[in-house]
């Protein structure tokens, strides 16, 4: 199977990225209105939201205000993912076209790296927020560790890739100007 062009590995990867991008867009579209509903519900509802479904009563593990804050953070996180995935989609489009070292891909990769730095920094803020919420947050804590070396390594890899693509774009331009 070819690496570039139609019906290549890149085209299948692009399909996978497109599917994840669509799912992220749906998540943003669902969580956003939910945040708005909770913000409207906030001054009028109980301190701890309750929902009765088919005879079962669901009680939120978080107070309403904390739940709204979590939903807003989730919305912002998924929104950042949409931005990252959109740029990756644009890069994959150039790959499928057989022109991977397009100059625009350099900026796109840098934006992806910057967004990943922002997400990781925001995650630290979210963990600090959850620590402040108190015992109700115990069920929502993902991990006890603060520093995630794998995530920062991924950021480094993305920025290194951006420099590789910058050199590739320079070689592409040289190739275009070779008669």
């Amino acid at each position: 199977m070819r690496a570039l062009g139609p019906e290549s590995v890149s085209s299948f990867l692009k399909i996978a990225v497109d599917v994840v991008y669509a799912a992220a867009c749906i998540a943003v579209a669902v969580v956003g209105p939910l945040c708005l509903v909770m913000l409207v519900y906030l001054p009028f509802g109980p301190a701890v939201p309750r929902l009765s479904l088919g005879g079962h009563l669901w009680v939120s593990p978080l107070p309403t205000l904390a739940l709204v804050a979590v939903l807003l953070v989730v919305e912002a996180y998924v929104g950042c993912l949409v931005v990252i995935l959109n740029r990756i989609r644009r890069i994959m489009e150039t790959l499928v076209r057989g022109d991977p070292f397009h100059p625009d891909n350099v900026a796109r990769l840098r934006w992806v790296g910057a967004a990943m730095v922002g997400l990781e920094a925001a995650a630290y803020g979210v963990r600090a927020l959850l620590d402040q919420v108190g015992p109700h947050s115990a069920a929502l804590r993902a991990s006890d560790g603060w520093f995630n070396p794998t995530a920062w390594f991924a950021v480094l890899v993305v920025f290194v890739l951006a420099e590789v693509f910058r050199e590739g774009a320079r070689l592409r331009r040289d190739s275009e100007l070779t008669i």
Binding site: P103, V106, R170, D174, L177, T178, I179
Partner: protein, 83 residues
């Protein structure tokens, strides 16, 4: 770039147009324009061979070296503009 391509002069001497040369050599007019304007970064030997055959000339008739200093932005020391 201090290497000059004297394509205009040779075309004039041979009474040939750029599009006619493009047809004979199998290179697009756009690429010949790049070559003629000095914006080309490199010239393949095969292209030089095809040009010399089509124009019935020597490589030295087409290429010249300019000893004067240049402010050409395409010089190897210039930034590539991708920073």
């Amino acid at each position: 770039m201090t290497i000059r391509v004297r394509l205009d002069r040779v075309l004039y001497e041979r009474r040939m147009s750029l599009s006619e040369l493009a047809d004979r050599v199998g290179i697009t007019v756009a690429n010949l324009q790049i070559l003629k304007s000095g914006r080309a970064r490199a010239l393949r030997i095969s292209t030089l061979d095809a040009l010399c055959r089509a124009l019935d000339c020597q490589p030295g008739d087409l290429l010249g070296f300019d000893h004067s200093p240049t402010d050409d932005p395409d010089s190897p020391d210039a930034e590539d503009g991708l920073d």
